[in-house]
């Protein structure tokens, strides 16, 4: 029996996208496979690693724990949508500049989480940074340069606003 599909409308990185998905299609698979946005990574598919973090109406969510249909009518920002045209966002630039990545597989998730964190709290303390990103795993960096990158991103954002 063919699976029932649902027509949904998502605003992804500012563009309205219509897509037909089965009820149990994960948002991560919908983004990666149906919409071709492979910048959102899947590291565990059970909500632990944070690689798949995207912004749903500005709030970080794990796209591997979200059904695509529940995002119907909402705005989604993925790593591909963080830059302002050609200009990378302060968070993106800070991660590149501070060597906050090695293999880079965790990076899109961190970038989305940190983007939301700094919007809520533009000048976080060390403790606030740790807490803010403790839901994202990185296996390569030992986190030291990620912490630096978050502070640097806060600095860049302040300088540019």
């Amino acid at each position: 029996m063919p699976e029932r599909v649902h027509e949904i409308t998502l605003t992804v990185n500012g563009t309205v996208r219509r897509v037909a998905v089965p009820g149990r299609r994960l948002l991560s698979d919908c983004l990666r496979h149906d919409l071709g946005l492979t910048g959102t990574h899947v590291g565990c598919e059970h909500g632990v690693c944070g690689c798949c973090t995207v912004l749903l109406d500005g709030e970080p969510v794990r796209s591997c724990l979200t059904f695509a249909v529940t995002a119907d009518g909402h705005e989604i920002t993925t790593v591909e949508g963080l830059a302002d045209g050609e200009r990378m966002s302060p968070v993106q630039r800070a991660f590149a500049e501070c060597h906050g990545l090695q293999c880079g597989f965790c990076t899109p998730g961190f970038l989305c989480t940190v983007t939301a964190l700094l919007r809520e709290n533009p000048a976080p303390t060390d403790e606030e940074v740790l807490e803010g990103i403790s839901g994202n795993l990185c296996r390569c960096t030992g986190y030291q340069n990620i912490i630096k990158a978050v502070h640097r991103a806060a600095e860049l954002t302040a300088e540019e606003s």
Partner: protein, 781 residues
């Protein structure tokens, strides 16, 4: 779809040239050239490859660690709508077995018998990953389940224990014999002994195994994979597919971390088989659960150590047994045993040594390469022994290590003379003198062990300090002809000289692409460098393991650039119409050909004109020898690298919770090629050692993995990893390019014993196994 020379289609988001513009030679810290793609979400990881019309592969794996396969019925799966192929061992076109080394004992797909949980049995290709998975469930396999053989000790020593596989149960026994241990036992004033265990650690790279196979019109296949060693993959893949190597074109896709876990094949042959069978591109992506079965892990170890010493702490003898469980197939076990044996007592001078290192086959999870590779397990034991000895002699842990420390000119256990500087005693002094972190501020519960979930006010918290020293061999050892190849091309593009660097070396996150560009800039005096995707259209680069790529591929890029440079000089002489030997000492600096005597001769662009200079060079390190099978003697290592850690921990002795407060590292890297990258390697290596110390273990019972998920296999988060303090020394190794030493692994060795020593210091407990769990501290287990 575009067509390539082989007549196959190219996927969208295929790996592409990476531009490395700007400045930054050897010793500078330019940014990663792939960093921009990675922060923009545009870097093509192996899981991101896409090609129209592709199928999805899935792998049926054994639920049993040991069973006979009575029958396999694929008919229902094949009839499932959307399924294009279901393959078993009968469909393997060529050799049925592969393997990292000469033993070739691992079946492509199990035939007749399965020897570990998760062993691949059948493959499905379907139009959607879900379809493939559902069809897979329809494959009917009748098993005769057997009692798994899981006792590594019996596998090693009990001839009556049933055989796991036809090779017998002992993969390798490597002894090391120095002096006369029995005679030394009579003279010892102090004797200490211990039994230590290391659990199974997983590489837990975040990007699971994945890749794409595209059938080509010439009957071959194009493989886009995430691997550590393309050419060794190829050597195994080609015979199994029954194809000549030229018909398999391999391209490295984005690698989401490796740490040893991608040294063995995973989905490569499987995807290629499905693609050749169906005539369609096939992509395979493992999920996290499957990834735990899709690669080998770090060998668990059981180790028995006895040291005798004088009253003042000078070690007279070491009597050591190291037992490593490799699981069902050989993988890297042979070399892991070699490392454990040759580095079994670490960087200490001991006149009488008896080491027996064993690697065995069992039906436990297969084990192979992981960062530190055999040296990690031994390091936990010998460093624990040093602390024990310190206590028995009334010395502090730093002094006892200094008293016995090896240095330049001393001999390793194998008799190999340490030819390069090894300032271990000094490094220990530096580690001790680093400022200490402030005392615990218990007023903020987040500072306590357990953090926000703490239920006390910290009444039971004790602080401890511990040290660890680790010695790691860099590059391949034991007589292996280890080399790398680089092709470098220099030409003028858009009015500017551009160096194109092409190797088969795998960038796995460590920053090799950054380094290649730095070396090209330094050697060729240009700014613009382009890094070509790694593929097998250039010679073997060896593996991105054993901390060897800076040395080996760095060396290859350096020598290829030097050859190109000679070409530029010859061209300059021709253009100036003067004999080369009249131009004096030449160099390429700042885009110019410069003569030491006459200054700037010409811009590189003017010299080159339309000319293209391309050179390919192999770089070999100095030959090593094997280890004598009876005495272990031999100059088996190319290079040695040392890291010292000091760990500070707070332990809640009542709850058994540990908070690592700070990790300080002193490491000698020979020469800092890129400080930013290097520090990242030390941070990351240290974090993995922390994971082994207090968190990470694949829990196995009856041969079955009990925690194959990130919910149950815990790796350090940012809250587990403390701030680090680094002291980096540059005592050059005169044999190595630029004097460098490999840097990625040593910190993974030393951080584990340092942390455990600190927990012992805080608790007074013996703690003989890692990871240390709360119940080991509270005594409730």
């Amino acid at each position: 779809m575009t067509r390539t020379g082989s007549g196959s289609a190219t996927p969208v988001r295929a790996p592409r040239d990476i531009a490395a513009p700007g400045t930054g030679g050897v010793g500078d810290s330019p940014l990663r050239p792939d960093g921009t793609l990675k922060v923009k979400g545009e870097f093509a990881y192996s899981s991101d490859l896409w090609i129209d019309g592709m199928l999805w592969g899935a792998t049926l794996r054994s639920p049993h660690p040991r069973a006979k396969i009575v029958s396999i019925d694929v008919s229902a799966a094949l009839a499932h709508p959307g399924v294009s192929a279901v393959l078993t061992h009968e469909d393997v076109p060529g050799r049925k077995h592969f393997g990292l080394d000469h033993t070739w004992d691992q079946p492509v797909l199990a035939a007749g018998e399965v020897r570990h949980q998760g062993e691949p049995i059948a493959l499905v290709a379907a139009d959607h990953p879900e379809t493939a998975r559902r069809a897979m469930e329809k494959i009917r396999i009748e098993y005769e389940v057997l009692e798994p053989l899981t006792d590594a000790r019996r596998a090693a020593f009990d001839p009556a224990y049933p055989q796991v596989q036809p090779r017998g149960n002992l993969a390798r026994h490597q002894p090391v014999r120095v002096g006369d241990v029995e005679a030394a036992k009579a003279r010892a004033e102090v004797v200490v002994s211990g039994e230590y265990r290391v659990g199974i650690q997983d590489q837990a790279f975040l990007g699971p195994e994945s890749g794409l196979a595209v059938p080509a019109e010439d009957g071959g296949v194009d493989l886009y994979v995430a691997t550590q060693w393309m050419h060794n993959d190829l050597k195994q893949i080609a015979p199994c597919l029954g194809l000549p190597e030229e018909k398999i074109r391999m391209t490295l896709s984005g690698v989401g971390g490796a740490f040893g876990g991608r040294e063995d094949l995973s989905m490569q042959i499987h995807a290629a088989m499905l693609a050749l069978h169906t005539g369609r591109p096939v992509k395979i992506v493992y999920n996290r659960y499957e990834s735990f079965f899709g690669h080998v892990h770090r060998h668990p170890a059981e180790m028995r150590y006895e040291y005798g010493a004088t009253k003042d702490g000078r070690i007279l003898y070491a009597d050591v047994e190291i037992l490593l469980d490799g699981g069902a197939y050989t993988s890297a076990t042979m070399n892991v045993v070699g490392n454990a044996a040759s580095l079994g007592v670490g960087p200490y001078v001991i006149p009488n040594i008896k080491i027996d290192a064993y690697g065995v086959y069992t039906n436990n999870p297969p084990c192979g390469a992981m960062r530190g590779f055999g040296a990690v397990q031994a390091c936990f034991a010998y460093e624990s022994m040093m602390d024990k000895l310190a206590e028995a002699c009334g010395l502090d842990p730093v002094t006892v290590r200094q008293v016995n420390a090896a240095s330049q000119g001393s001999e390793l256990a194998t008799g190999q003379v340490i030819w390069a500087p090894l300032p271990m005693a000094e490094m220990l002094r530096q580690a001790r003198e680093l400022p200490m972190p402030p005392p615990l501020d218990a007023s903020d519960i987040r500072n306590l062990p357990g953090g926000a979930s703490q239920t006390t006010h910290g009444e039971g918290v004790r602080r401890g300090v511990g040290y660890g020293v680790g010695l790691k061999n860099i590059c391949f050892s034991e007589g292996y002809d280890d080399y790398s190849t680089a092709r470098v091309r220099l030409e003028v593009i858009g009015g500017e000289a551009v160096a194109l660097v092409h190797t088969a070396a795998a960038e796995v996150g460590q920053g090799l692409v950054t380094l290649e560009a730095q070396i090209a800039r330094t050697e060729l005096g240009v700014e613009r460098v382009v890094i070509h995707p790694a593929d097998n259209q250039v010679g073997d680069a060896g593996s991105s393991s054993a901390s060897r790529q800076s040395y080996m591929t760095g060396g290859a890029v350096m020598t290829a650039c030097q050859a190109v440079r000679e070409g530029v000089f010859a061209l300059a002489a021709a253009r100036l119409d003067r004999p080369l030997d009249t131009l004096g000492d030449l160099s390429l600096v700042g885009g110019k050909v410069v003569s030491e005597s006459a200054g700037v001769l010409a811009a590189i662009e003017d010299v080159l004109g339309d000319a293209v200079i391309e050179e390919t060079r192999e770089y070999h390190h100095e030959p090593t020898t094997g280890m004598d099978p009876v005495t272990g003697r031999g100059d088996s290592h190319t290079q040695l690298a040392l890291c010292v850690h000091r760990a500070v921990v707070d332990v809640d002795v009542e709850l058994g919770l540990v908070k690592v407060v700070e990790l300080a590292a002193v490491q000698d890297v020979g020469k800092i090629l890129n400080r930013l990258s290097l520090e990242g390697q030390i941070h990351g290596g240290t974090a993995q050692g922390l994971g082994l110390a207090v968190m990470e273990e694949i829990v196995v019972s009856d041969g079955k993995v009990r925690n194959p998920s990130f919910t149950d296999y815990l790796i350090p988060t940012i809250l587990d990893m403390p701030p680090m303090r680094l002291e980096i020394l540059e005592n050059a190794d005169p044999r190595a390019p630029y004097g460098l030493r490999g840097a990625g692994e040593p910190p993974t060795l030393s951080s584990t014993p340092a942390i455990v020593a600190a927990i012992r210091d805080a608790t007074g407990l013996a703690l003989t196994r890692v990871p240390v769990r709360p119940e080991h501290i509270t005594g409730s287990s």
